[in-house]
Amino acid sequence: MYRKGIMLLFSMLLLAGCWDERLYKNASVVTLVGVDGYVGAYKGYYAYPNTAAQQNEVIEADGISPRDVRNQANLKVEQTIDLSELSTILVSDQTVREPLYDILDIYFRNPQNPISIKIAVTEGDVKPFIELTKDLAGGSGDYYERFMESTEENTIFPKLDLQTVGSMLFEQTIDIALPYIQLSEDKKHAVAAGVTLFSGQRFTGTVLTPKQSLTMLLLMNQPSKQARMSYMWKHDGKAMPITAEVIHIKRQWTVNEELKRIDMDYLIEVEIEEFAHDHLYKDPIFKEVQQLIQNQMQAEFEEVLRILQGQQSDTLGIGRYIRAYHPKMFQKDWHTIYASLQLVPSVQVKIIRTGVLR
């Protein structure tokens, strides 16, 4: 009797078990998601690899919310749509005019969704960006992930993932700058086109060019593996290009609480990577080149800071700094204070290496 009972219990377990089973072979593993539209009328695109054809399928669906879009998309797929292997989210620049968190909520709330993924803003509709991955042999999400990671290494896009974006969205004291991508002219590639500036949860409409976003990242003291700048050097009526790579940055912010003025001192150490004129060992040339880079950067720093303040977009995290070290100066409505701050950058450039040539 006892034995029979155990057998019965065991077979019941076997029959009824596997409540949470999600067989991998029955899931359509979406790697790239595109979001378009606004609350009440969202459009979603889901790209998943079709293993048989070595291609990517794209499913398009409409719905009132991001989650609803996914439910609608599920109706069109023979397997279940599964976002646990998601690696990139693309959002159109129209959609991010509304609060960004509205579309991200489902990714934070659902435990199966990864949050160590990339997010980017596209110029215009998302659709062409998703469709261009159709013929790729690899996954669509991988393509954009690799694309953005390599751009991050060139210090054009800030190093962000969904979690850090979410963390900043909740904070008044820092704003996000999301990668901005355009289509190439032949509509076959994505092109990194700088960063979009956010003020709070919304896109301000201003996009920094790649060169400006590099400057912004230098201001943030986040140079990645490569951070290169090229300038024209005019000498004896001839123009000669110089390329410098940033090696180290030392940053010093001095806050004057009464004047609401922040002196931002940067000491930037660079290596000369391109200078066909050579002869940097000659002191006057060296000095002149160094001065030229310094002046150019000073101008760029000022310009970028002006844009950021104009858009009330505190991507540098000045608010964080002020709140932590000068709490008296900090106020709840940070963005207006930020716009009225007096930010005074001063750049000092030092050439510390010249490559293997003198």
Binding site: L14, C18, L23, Y24, K25, S84, G139
Partner: protein, 477 residues
């Protein structure tokens, strides 16, 4: 009927008229007759004749101790004793007139050569192996320990078979409670017909139903000695080359003489590799099943694409898929043990390569599953002990089942059950999972490393931690 003839009749009867029994009337000193009685199958007849000749010669000189030599004794005759001696392979000369019997202990030497044990190959060190004869085995051990403190005690197992067996220990090293426990268990053995070492280990083990062996089984005399000096009891029988050693810990099954024959760093490295193999052997298939059917989000993107391609068209659920392969694996193992060595290899190739390849191209199982199962099989054979290695191969089936029911939760539940079982298991009433239980932080590293200076350690005897934490338990004897 005269006395001698009557006696012969009764002897014949006592031995059930067995064909290999010889009972013969012979002439003895000065017109007396004697009865010669022995099992022809057990006695070395030529040697017996030689000794008898010596004794005849001595009888004529009328020396008082004519009967005493190294191999002979003179006792009063009694039928039960006579039967016992004949059964042990001794030759009996009964002197009915004197009421005495002369026994000649010259058994026929049937033994095989001292070969290296087949199931415990080692690279370096002694290649002698125990054989199916207790005295030879004792020789091999005495040869290594020239010390009277090595005590050998004999006993018999099997009320009907009366098989000779011994237990050995080092006096002064062994803990009295260990010895007492072993003696108690030996006294409690109730076996009528003893023919297999398995009967003995069943009778001596603490919990027979546990999957883990609680007595170490070895055929290496050097291993026996190593355990003797650590204060353990060794039981050997006359019928099997295996020596049973107890009490042991789980981790002693993971040691081989090679660890101590090779260099310190190398020995430690392989010890660690072997212990890690436990993890892969037991958990790898379960882990794979859990990942594929519950938690595939843990796979990194690049890997997940490969896995997805591989499993997409498999008709079965992962558990069934794994079971198919595992059972094929076990079949190959069984068949290659039973077959002669030359054919065994062929089976290995047919099984491994042909079936493995065909089953994947037929789409029954995925490539990855083949990798997982093969890896598991290799890891399970790393364990030096045959018993533990079969235990480990068996253990993975419940884990696979649990993983297919609850994913990682099932594995966690299985692990906790396994740990509770291991921690509460005993070997001769002493903790099996020492030094984890009782926890001795200073002894734990010995599980993983082989220390340069081999200091024999005495196993802890109780579940209570030792009095002095500085390591009284590791005293050199």
């Amino acid at each position: 009927m005269d006395k001698v003839e009557y006696m012969m009749k009764s002897l014949q009867k006592a031995f059930y008229h067995s064909s290999d029994l010889t009972v013969r009337q012979i002439d003895w000193h000065e017109g007396d007759t004697a009865i010669l009685c022995f099992y022809a199958s057990l006695v070395d007849a030529k040697e017996v004749q030689k000794i008898l000749d010596t004794i005849y010669a001595r009888l004529d000189t009328e020396k008082p101790f004519w009967s005493e030599t190294l191999l002979t004794t003179l006792d009063n005759f009694a039928l039960p004793q006579a039967i016992e001696r004949v059964c042990q392979g001794e030759t009996l000369v009964i002197l009915p007139d004197m009421g005495k019997m002369l026994t000649l202990a010259i058994p026929n030497e049937v033994r095989r050569n001292l070969e290296e044990p087949n199931n415990e190959h080692i690279l370096r060190g002694s290649h002698e192996g125990l054989v199916e004869r207790a005295d030879t085995n004792l020789t091999l051990i005495r040869k290594r320990v020239n010390n009277p403190a090595l005590v050998v005690k004999s006993f018999t197992i099997g009320q009907q078979t009366n098989t000779k067996a011994y237990y050995l220990y080092m006096d002064g090293v062994i803990k009295p409670e260990t010895l007492k426990e072993m003696e108690k268990r030996i006294a409690d053995i109730k076996i009528d017909y003893f023919y297999s070492i398995g009967q003995l280990s069943d009778a001596l083990e603490d919990s027979v139903l546990s999957p883990f062996p609680q007595l170490l089984n070895t055929e290496h005399p050097d291993r026996v000695v190593a355990h003797l000096v650590e204060g353990k009891v060794v039981v050997m029988t006359n019928i099997s080359p295996s020596a049973l050693i107890g009490p042991v810990t789980f981790f002693s099954f993971y040691q081989t003489p090679d660890d101590y024959n090779s260099r310190v760093v190398v020995g430690s490295f392989y010890k660690i590799v072997r212990l890690l193999s436990f993890v892969t052997a037991v958990f790898l298939p379960a882990f794979y099943i859990a990942v594929i059917s519950f938690h595939f989000e843990v796979l990194p993107l690049e890997l997940s694409n490969q896995v997805k391609n591989d499993v997409n068209d498999i008709p079965y659920r992962p558990l069934i898929e794994a079971l198919i392969l595992e059972i094929i694996m076990e079949l190959i193992r069984e068949s290659s043990i039973r077959l002669p060595q030359s054919v065994g290899q062929t089976i290995g190739i047919v099984g491994g390569l042909v079936i493995g390849d065909a089953i994947v191209s037929a789409g029954l199982v995925s490539n990855l599953m083949v990798i997982v199962v093969a890896l598991t099989a290799i890891s399970s054979y790393v364990v030096p002990s045959v018993e533990l290695n079969s235990t480990i191969r068996m253990l993975r089936f419940p884990f696979m089942l649990l993983a297919s029911l609850f994913g990682f939760l099932g594995i966690v539940v299985g692990v906790v059950i396994l740990l509770i079982h291991l921690i509460s298991l005993t070997s001769l009433k002493q903790p099996y999972f020492s030094p984890i239980v009782p926890f001795q932080p200073k002894a734990v590293y010995k599980i993983f490393l082989r220390w340069p200076f081999i200091r024999p350690t005495v196993q802890v005897t109780s579940f209570q931690p030792p009095k002095d934490e500085k390591g009284k338990n590791e005293d050199t004897p």
